[in-house]
Symmetry: C2
Subunit: 452 residues, 2 copies
């Protein structure tokens, strides 16, 4: 039997784990710096918690866990007889794998509300599972990195989260553009155009502006029965690229004035911080058919700094009026962001922005040229480890070439070679595997060299 | 609808995540110090990879993931008609959740053998899932922390892993006893007693010595049809407590001499290291019905240092002759250990050995007494964050008592209070929430105070 893993899942080699941890660690440190606290939820949720929260399409993509024991005994016998796969699920599967980190977070806030103090700032870096058709860059098991603050309507947090994007991508060496909009502006656009009922249709159409141009957007609006007069107003909105130009357009819309005031306050806060990446207002930004009600964020690679990178949004977020209503708890507004770790990985790899080494990797490998020197090697590896140096010992005496090849495969920067002379003198040959040169050092010299 | 989570699973509050990460981080750093490299495998494995690897009981405890789409269309129709839950599984579920980290590791080594260099030292700290009946201290989702080295028979690794136990528990402030045995000694015992075929029966019986005494063990052996003469020999083995006393007992058994020589070599290596916890030879140690073939380890809390702690083994391990044979790849011996993170958590909590705070936690909370000082607070929180201090700002001006209560709930050690005077002077009131005292500091003084 030739073993394999499920389609859409991945094994990671050590070098990949180091690189993934470089991203997670950077994000985690920034979350902590900004006062977000870690929580964890189980991989398995009750299916009732997940079902109906992601639309009909989402329900199909949930991984359901089969009940244990004699699950058919308690199954819906009618659904069984009719071979009704959908109808049977609820009776043979009580649990499912989490689909995102947001619904479990909402459940968590409701269940633990008495143990939490609000505003509650949490982060979570955990895998999620979706039964999507596997394809390049899309996996059935992948990580999400989310930070949210709930229990406060303060716009301070919008600005803070923009700065958090900024800090993380600076740390990763990636120049980005942070786009900002507000759902209230989109609502005002629909209102001013006389089609408040068609806000979704309008936002879906204008979302495509960059791809299909203004004429394309008008054709889309035609298809959705939005008349030319309304299209003219929409076109005016799309031509705006500063908040000031925007003012007359929303003067007659209460929600529009509100959205504009919020955006201005957020930009004022942002100006009071040393944000180094470009932050732009983008009226087209809609973030699909989701639950956002206020600010919306989206981060993309800055193509001026990194030309040719083809990757959509690498981080995003927004404000929502009501996180926990689905679980019967009212008045829990919040704002949150999410880093697309898998896409960020691909971009850093493409641009060769990963650091050469990781502090967790091996620093030194000791190799012994004959059996008699193994005891010296064993002693030395323990001394190095006691000095806090990540070290290893090749477990038997062997041909130098073979051991150096092993050192290369393990990507270790220093090899310490022990022959009978070194064992006697206590002065070791240290080969720098990157530079190729070799020096002689005693224990103290070796430790200070390897610790630096 | 009142939300809940599946029985046997857990949510973790921030304080619990910090404590868990304290354990995982300590174990991870020690693994890295000793040259072990991280790998990751997916939560879902093909069910064919898992089935049959854990015995019949284990198969029942596997969580199976239901196939997506119209799974009944491809189901075993006969099993469906007969309501045969067991018989149906394979046809409606291709995937399962991993049950431990060892079988996925074996699969990984086989699949990636060309990308790995041997000896391959890997660690993994990941959750596993078992459909055990939930009860106190037993969960359906829990973490395992494993380190293994495969591809070498060298006993250097046995000693290294003993020292690794030692380093980790020293770091955690827990005194332990590390018990050592060798499966070959148990084989010799059965052989010398004339019942090589009953090695399992014998080891199961002697494993109970501490609980039921030698008379109890003899009664157990009676039940298993092991005659009095053999019982006398077994009793002699059990009376041994040094390797030297052991020598005459195994003089006539080749496997016994081998086991004794291995134990001596391992103890010699251990003596060459500065192991600080007690390491004892224990002929009774058997580690149940598993695949070990050489050294066996078990770690328990040292009751001399920590009287009254009732907890079984908190870490364990052993050598196996053949990791990958189940997947058709021969000659892959190895030795590995596993830390019982959930039990270690309970012990550290009982003994109050967790550190008071975690470097990842919030260091300072800024609170503003009126709306006019919020801008100063916002500026200050950004300055502190830029100085690398984990900081947060209460998002609105509010009553001091309310904000101090929030600070207490978030367990933050320093609160910086900004009123109109502080905003004007740039000299802030800093309240130490542990000591209760309050001092006045300017920005530079504040940063140096909080960084220390």
């Amino acid at each position: 039997m030739k073993p394999s893993i499920p389609k859409g899942t991945r094994d990671f080699l050590p070098a990949q784990v180091y690189r993934r941890e470089y991203i997670f660690g950077t994000v985690r440190r920034a979350f902590q710096l900004y006062g977000y606290q870690p929580i964890e939820t189980p991989a398995m949720e009750n299916l009732a918690t997940l079902t109906g929260k992601y639309g009909e399409e989402g329900d199909k993509l949930l991984f359901k866990v089969l009940n244990n024991g004699d699950y058919l005994a308690k199954a819906d016998q009618k659904a069984l007889d009719e071979r009704d796969s959908n109808g049977l699920v609820a009776s043979i599967s009580k649990r499912g794998l989490r689909y995102d980190l947001t619904v479990p977070f909402a459940r968590y806030v409701v269940m633990h509300q008495n143990d939490l103090s609000f505003p509650f700032k949490r982060y979570a870096i955990q895998p999620v599972w979706r039964a999507d058709r596997p394809q390049k860059g899309r996996y059935q098991e992948f990580y999400q990195c989310d930070a949210d603050v709930v229990g406060s309507p303060s716009l301070v947090y919008e600005a803070e989260l923009v700065r958090l994007f900024d800090v993380v991508f600076n740390e990763l060496g990636l120049k980005v553009v942070i786009r900002l909009n507000n759902r209230k502006i989109l609502a005002a656009l629909a209102e001013v155009a006389g089609h408040s009922d068609k806000m979704m249709d309008i936002t879906i159409a204008i979302d495509k502006l960059d791809k299909i141009g203004i004429e394309g957007v008008r054709r889309e609006l035609d298809k959705r029965d939005i008349p030319a007069a309304a299209q003219d107003i929409i076109e005016k909105f799309l031509a705006v690229d500063s908040l000031d130009e925007f003012e007359p357009l929303v003067a007659d819309s209460e929600i529009g004035r509100e959205g504009l005031a919020e955006l201005r306050e957020v930009f004022d806060f942002i100006e009071a911080m040393s944000v180094t990446n470009r932050v732009t207002f983008d009226v087209k930004l809609a973030r699909g058919l989701n639950y956002y009600t206020g600010a919306i964020f989206e981060v993309e690679v800055d193509l001026d700094a990194h030309p040719g990178v083809k990757m959509g949004s690498i981080a995003s977020g927004g404000r929502y009026a009501d996180l926990t209503g689905i679980f019967g708890m009212k008045d829990m507004p919040g704002v949150g962001i999410s880093f697309g770790a898998e896409r960020i990985y691909d971009v850093l790899e493409e641009l060769e922005l990963f650091p050469d080494s990781n502090p967790a990797q091996l620093t030194a490998l000791i190799v012994c040229l004959d059996d008699e020197t193994m005891a010296t090697g064993f002693k030395l590896v323990n001394q190095l480890r006691e000095a806090g140096i990540n070290s290893d010992l090749y477990p038997t005496a062997a041909k130098l070439n073979k051991m150096l090849k092993y050192a290369n495969q393990r990507d270790v920067p220093h090899v310490i070679i022990i022959g009978s002379e070194e064992a006697k003198s206590g002065v070791y040959s240290v080969k720098n595997m990157r530079a190729g040169e070799q020096v002689k050092l005693d224990l103290a010299g070796l430790i200070s060299q390897l610790q630096s």
